[in-house]
Symmetry: C2
């Protein structure tokens, strides 16, 4: 057995073609585009291009394919697993896709038809994730016969670990794991050993929902059926690993208002172009919040100590709110928040905000009093802090729950909305109370 | 085939025992503890308890087991997959674990030995994740013989989709997928069809590293070997799904300073106890930042407009920094930041901060000028904003990179450190410049 090294040093296409396609994909992704295209064409001659492209990010694979002569690009796509090929085609301009499909129809009409159908489903649904290359057999053959049929079709099927049993109309009747097929007496009928209580997916289910089913049941593949129960395809667990990682990244990015396409190695001008709109949006909300101290300018010039406590009170409201936003948003993403649960969460967060606010408010008020020896300042700071922490807690739950009720992504810019609330209302509470007690401060 | 309903309505143990264990686990997790324990004991009599506990969170499974008579708890643990049983035992007090292992040794000494060895590895390493129940066969038997052996041991093995070929000392020689075993001519020797270029894990590898290998290669299971190449166990992809989800949750939580154990349904007094220390830590850092405006109190009372721009400048530094923190932290978690890359990232973020700061600074400075018709105010605001955005960008990269260099978690409280910097230095830049230009404001 060979020890795996840190990377693949050689660029000899013949050597590379023997490595695992995932490693070849890494090499292709790290090379400058021109060299990557050259290498890909060499790999194409060695019939190793399709496997490597399957392992690349679809958008990067599409960029390389666009640079190839159309004949070679079509040939490579025709050799890829249909679900991976469809992901790559999604990244290409519409006109180019039609051209490739026309060309593909000449060399492999069945594949062209499969790809056309897959492209009808959005890429982040069960329909877009599924592979149409599954094993479907009738119920009345024996295990022995089934294994013989598997031998013949194994090359075409993406995953033979589950055999699906269907009726003449293609409706799913049951499923048999390869292990049970192999380990049962050879003359057993499939009908006798198939499991009929099958977990199924619908093509319109979102990638997150699909991921949750895999997480819950721990299967290697799940079948996708239409409303009549006809088997359309299978989603395999390795496609889901990517989805889970990708979804988690997206949620983190959305909460921190990072553009979804940015990665560590994004060129600086791209980063600039993508981040700046978010920062301008942030600035706009900061101006909204700052309109409060602007309105209280003369109060601040008389009682400057209020300006010292402004950022503390606004910040703690934002901090406590971010805790709530994160827990609720992640809970929704993991499917742990049933629909009727919203009110319960709001009530819980209200009391948490009140109690946390009491503790933090008393501490902060005490510091204010100790510093200026003014009990009214302590009272104003205490009340503003407690109030803003209740606002942060409740708003932190309300924002993701509302976004979900509106069928939007709960993570979408939650933190900007939250801090706009906690800054604006935090300033208002402190300066408003300061105004009321201005005679004593 | 049966349609799946929203939940499992029935609580009849006999009916439940026929459902998928993942669904039974959901019922157990939703019931009040007393009723869950009662149900679990019924399931135990029906021999359905072990399968359901395997699907539960280990800490919740441990809580239930603690309430059972020790004899029943031991019997259930002995029927669980060893890797899942070990995860549950990790959650119990040391003394109780020893007692259970002693008892287990009487009824199933082999299982007790396996569990004892698994418990020696930390739970978040390959060693802690692996199952010792794999299929290992010699190289010189035929596929036919191998399948017959599989029939005999299939009940014990967690995953028979890969057969591992080992020498007499247990060293890993190669691997054969079940599909190849089934589809090859029956009299082929294993040696002829085994793959020798095997991707292997070491027991001390972290769960994240293991997840990355699965993500890269897309296998269903990976073997764990010691330094001599002896096969110790296998990690299966379904264990990794949990790990990836769990790691992503943890990273999100750490960035938002949420206690790692909290979930949407955590009781309020637990939430309070867990969140409050973070909020006090936040408050402490807020006091550090507020010491700057406190020192400039008399300047603020003379030029109160500075207090209006204080939160805008501090906030934008924090926002731009959070973008950087998120991208760098996530990049490190996904293995996209090689060790030597740090300086390159810092330089990139410096220039991004400068350019973003130029754009946002000019806008904010122009607003300040337009409002008060004072070019010096515009200049002070512009300079402070640009400076703080550079600070935010660079610090946002520096914090996770430094934490990694210190072998700490890059996500650890990153946002608190960041905002402490951007608030303190943002206030200092604005008020310091305001002090320098105080004659013109």
């Amino acid at each position: 057995m060979e020890e795996r090294k840190g990377g693949v040093a050689t660029l000899d296409p013949r050597e590379l073609a023997k490595r695992h396609p995932a490693e070849v994909a890494e090499v292709l992704q790290e090379l400058p585009e021109k060299e990557a295209v050259k290498l890909l064409r060499e790999l194409y001659k060695l019939r190793a291009a399709a496997d490597s492209l399957e392992e690349m990010d679809p958008d990067e694979a599409a960029e390389l394919l666009e640079e190839l002569p159309e004949r070679e690009a079509t040939a490579i796509l025709s050799r890829m697993e249909p679900d991976d090929a469809a992901d790559v085609l999604e990244e290409l301009p519409r006109a180019e896709v039609d051209e490739i499909l026309d060309r593909l129809r000449e060399i492999n009409p069945r594949k062209a038809e499969i790809l056309k159908r897959l492209l009808e489903y959005p890429p982040d649904t069960a329909g877009g994730l599924m592979s149409p290359e599954f094993v479907a057999l009738p119920a009345d053959i024996t295990c022995q016969e089934a294994i013989e049929r598997l031998r013949r079709i194994a090359q075409e099927a993406e995953n033979i670990y589950y055999t699906y049993v269907v009726d003449q109309e293609g409706r799913l009747l049951g499923v048999i794991a390869l292990r049970d097929l192999v380990l049962s007496p050879p003359d057993t009928k499939l009908r006798e050993i198939m499991l009929t209580d099958v977990v199924t997916l619908r093509p319109e289910m979102s990638a997150e929902e699909v991921a949750r089913e895999f997480d819950k049941y721990g299967y290697l593949a799940l079948p996708v059926v239409d409303k009549d129960g006809v088997l359309l395809g299978i989603v395999t667990v390795d496609d889901i690993l990517d989805v889970i990682t990708e979804e988690a990244t997206e949620d983190m990015y959305k909460m921190a208002n990072v553009p979804r396409e940015e990665r560590v190695d994004t060129p600086w001008y791209e980063s600039l172009k993508m981040r700046l709109p978010w920062l301008y949006f942030n600035l706009f909300t900061a101006f909204i919040a700052a309109s409060v101290p602007a309105a209280f300018e003369s109060l601040i010039s008389r009682i400057a100590v209020l300006a010292v406590f402004m950022p503390i009170i606004a910040g703690q409201g934002g901090n406590t709110g971010m805790q709530t936003v994160t827990i609720v948003t992640r809970g929704i993403a993991l499917g742990e928040v049933p629909k009727g649960r919203g009110l319960w969460i709001l009530i819980k967060e209200f009391f948490l905000g009140l109690l946390n606010g009491l503790a933090i408010g008393v501490t902060t008020g005490a510091v204010a009093y100790a510093w200026k020896r003014n009990p009214y300042l302590g009272l104003v700071v205490f009340l503003a802090m407690m109030g803003n922490m209740v606002i942060g807690s409740v708003t932190g739950a309300l924002i993701p729950l509302t976004l979900r009720a509106l069928r939007l992504d709960p993570a979408l810019a939650s933190s900007i909305f939250l801090t706009t609330f906690t800054d604006t209302l935090g300033f208002f509470l402190l300066l408003g109370l300061g105004y009321v007690f201005r005679g004593y401060l």
